[in-house]
């Protein structure tokens, strides 16, 4: 949590990159992380694969299927993260669906997160109400930030509630759809939505995700938010090129700097 808070205080135009643990290979997690850090990602979101996602597009879904086939699980992931704890400096977030966490045991899960140095969690299908009633104390006591998602459909009063309960950033879903890279610039509807959220002057910074695939997208949304999250576009890159270090570094540099 603190690591993320410091990052958001010190830097603007953040670039966060999502990748699925155990993809393309079971032991890709460390090489991918190191390459992302070297390429200039400000923080990373590590996807915990699940076979029944309700908000993932085909690219991320496919990477999850492969990762599960490779034998990825929370247990394996935590073992990997324990080993690389010292070699990765940028903040790490875990993202995934609730049932595997529930099965692992939420308390045990949070303890493991703390132990391996995870800063925050994105669990899209953990409702705000359930989080507040059952888990808020557990998360904050262990220094784990819970990151909420908002969409163009989220009403203002809901956003205010989420803002209040947030401890690092809010994940602003760019459009009401599943994840996936899109071409072309922002639509007027998206701009309206970003401006609506900005006009609320939230205490919590926002990151824009869903549909960011290139440098131009990234720069464009940075005009309206604290930074951008790239997911499907990077997974697609992994799909085509594999987890080659230099290729990943090059991909991230190009994303961030445009060259």
């Amino acid at each position: 949590m603190e690591k993320l808070q410091t990052l958001f205080k010190q830097k603007k135009d953040l670039l966060s990159v999502y990748f699925t643990a155990g993809f393309p290979n079971i032991d890709s997690t460390l090489p991918v992380l190191k390459a992302l850090e070297e390429g200039g990602a400000d923080f990373v979101e590590i996807g915990m694969p699940y076979s029944d996602p309700l908000a993932d597009g085909p690219v991320i879904q496919n990477s999850s299927t492969v990762a599960l086939k490779n034998g990825m699980s929370l247990k394996v992931l935590f073992e990997q993260l324990k080993e690389l704890k010292k070699s990765v400096k940028i903040p790490m977030i875990l993202m995934g669906y609730f049932n595997p966490v529930l099965k692992f045991g939420v308390e045990a899960f949070i303890e493991e997160c703390k132990e391996v140095g995870i800063s925050g969690l994105i669990i899209p299908d953990l409702p705000y109400e359930t989080y507040i009633e059952e888990y808020e104390k557990l998360f904050t006591e262990n220094g784990i930030s819970n990151i909420f998602l908002i969409t163009p459909q989220t009403p203002d009063d809901r956003i205010k509630k989420l803002n209040k309960a947030s401890t690092s950033f809010i994940y602003m879903v760019s459009s009401a759809a599943v994840t996936g890279a899109r071409n072309g610039g922002l639509s007027p509807k998206q701009v309206d939505y970003f401006e609506r959220v900005n006009s609320m002057e939230l205490k919590t910074p926002c990151m824009v995700g869903f549909g960011i695939s290139n440098h131009q997208n990234y720069k464009e949304v940075c005009n309206y938010a604290h930074g951008a999250i790239v997911g499907s576009a990077f997974i697609k890159h992994l799909e085509n090129i594999g987890d080659d270090h230099n290729e990943i570094v090059g991909f991230i540099k190009k994303l961030k700097n445009g060259q």
Binding site: Y50, P100, T151
Partner: protein
């Protein structure tokens, strides 16, 4: 149990004790809230209720009869009665909630109905409702089920629905739900997800239960009229559990009536050989709600199987999950073999070909009857078996003197 059962459950957030709720990504969460609000506002209105009543009577042919199985009872003992949902228009109880959901969609100004289907019964019912109301209809169905339930696929085609084949995973009901959700999320403003059972996020388990309750209300009255008493037991099959919740609804507040939910025991108790969620599952979340769930040690839903495509689902309705914990409903199972036996027994002793799903309930009723010849049993015969005949004859015909 207090008379206020239906007011008590679910809670305002859609919980049945610890089960149910809406474990959803925000993209779907807001849409579900809109449907919940619309449901509360519209479904209690005079216009909605009278339109639905008229549809039930003149279009669906309700009330469906309760029938006393003379020859079956003679052979097995007990007094076995069937609630004939197989005579409901389109051949199963599913149309009860489909007409309700489609009517709600019409009131909400939606253009398109999206759903998954297992055996195809829900798909056919929804396609029927869509035709009635002049709405578009898109049904997601696993490729395995498409091959097995060919007649229902043809019916959906004829009714003008678009059948989307699902080729992921085991290509059955769970994957069909994933695929339908995905399609729905792409255009939630113009379309509405019409889930096929008392599963999914709030408000679906409540909505489907409320629309199905007509089965229980009718049969309670009919049974009393026929016999002057209440049945000792009420039996229904449980996949997601819509037909069971429907018929149980008429009897749940009367504690002296035993309720039985029958799950598919399949081939064996090995993982992947059955879909006996209540027998072997542990609480978990799937498709946006909490329930008993067949899952592995990592929380991944387990592969499931049943001879009845409409029952092979790794989860189960949240209300059923609560009723199991409360001990109000007894959940048990029958095997594929017992199911097929019952399928032929009912066909040959009473001239009624039951759906394989409903055959599970019949099989269990036969067991109860054998155990206690004095007892009266009301079975929800939730659907007719036309859709299953090719599959049954091909796979089991020889054992029963066919071919």
């Amino acid at each position: 149990m207090a008379q206020s059962y239906f007011k008590q459950y679910p809670s305002k957030d859609g919980f049945y004790k610890e089960y149910g709720g809406a474990f959803l990504p925000p993209v779907i969460e807001e849409e579900m809230k809109k449907i919940t609000e619309a449901y509360y506002a519209i479904s209690k209105s005079h216009n909605f209720i009278s339109e639905l009543r008229s549809i039930r009577k003149h279009y669906q042919g309700r009330p469906t009869p309760v029938y006393y199985c003379n020859r079956l009872s003679d052979k097995y003992g007990g007094r076995i009665y069937l609630k004939r949902e197989d005579l409901n228009h389109s051949g199963a109880h599913k149309l009860n909630h489909c007409m309700g959901e489609a009517l709600l969609a019409k009131y909400m100004g939606k253009k398109k109905l999206i759903a998954e289907t297992g055996a195809g019964q829900h798909g056919v019912a929804l396609a029927t409702a869509a035709a009635y109301f002049g709405l578009e209809c898109e049904i997601h169905m696993g490729e395995v089920d498409i091959a097995k339930e060919h007649p229902n696929v043809v019916r959906m085609d004829i009714l003008g629905a678009k059948v989307v084949p699902v080729s992921k995973g085991l290509k059955t009901l769970k994957e069909a739900v994933d695929s339908a959700f995905e399609a729905y999320v792409k255009d939630p403003e113009n379309s509405i997800y019409c889930i096929g059972s008392v599963v999914g996020p709030h408000p679906f388990p409540m909505m489907v239960r409320d629309f199905q309750k007509v089965v229980g209300v009718e049969s309670k009255e009919q049974f009393y009229e026929m016999t002057g008493e209440m049945p000792d037991s009420v039996v229904a099959c449980v996949g997601g559990g819509s037909n069971a919740m429907g018929i149980f609804g008429g009897f749940i507040e009367n504690e002296s009536i035993d309720l039985y939910g029958v799950e598919p025991g399949g081939l064996s108790m090995k993982t992947g050989d059955h879909a006996a969620t209540m027998m072997q599952g542990k609480p978990g979340t799937i498709h946006g709600f909490k329930c008993y769930l067949l899952q592995d040690e990592n929380g991944e839903p387990s592969p499931v199987y049943s001879v009845a495509s409409g029952l092979d689902y790794p989860g189960v309705g949240p209300e059923h999950s609560m009723l199991k914990d409360m001990g109000r409903v007894n959940y048990d199972m029958v095997t594929d073999k017992e199911t097929i036996d019952a399928f032929f027994e009912l066909s040959r002793l009473e001239g009624i070909i039951p759906a394989l799903e409903s055959s599970h309930a019949v099989a269990y009723a036969l067991k109860l009857a054998k155990k206690n010849p004095q007892t009266s049993i009301l079975v929800n015969l939730s659907g007719r078996g036309d859709k299953d005949i090719d599959f049954v004859v091909e796979k089991y015909g020889k054992d029963y003197g066919i071919g």
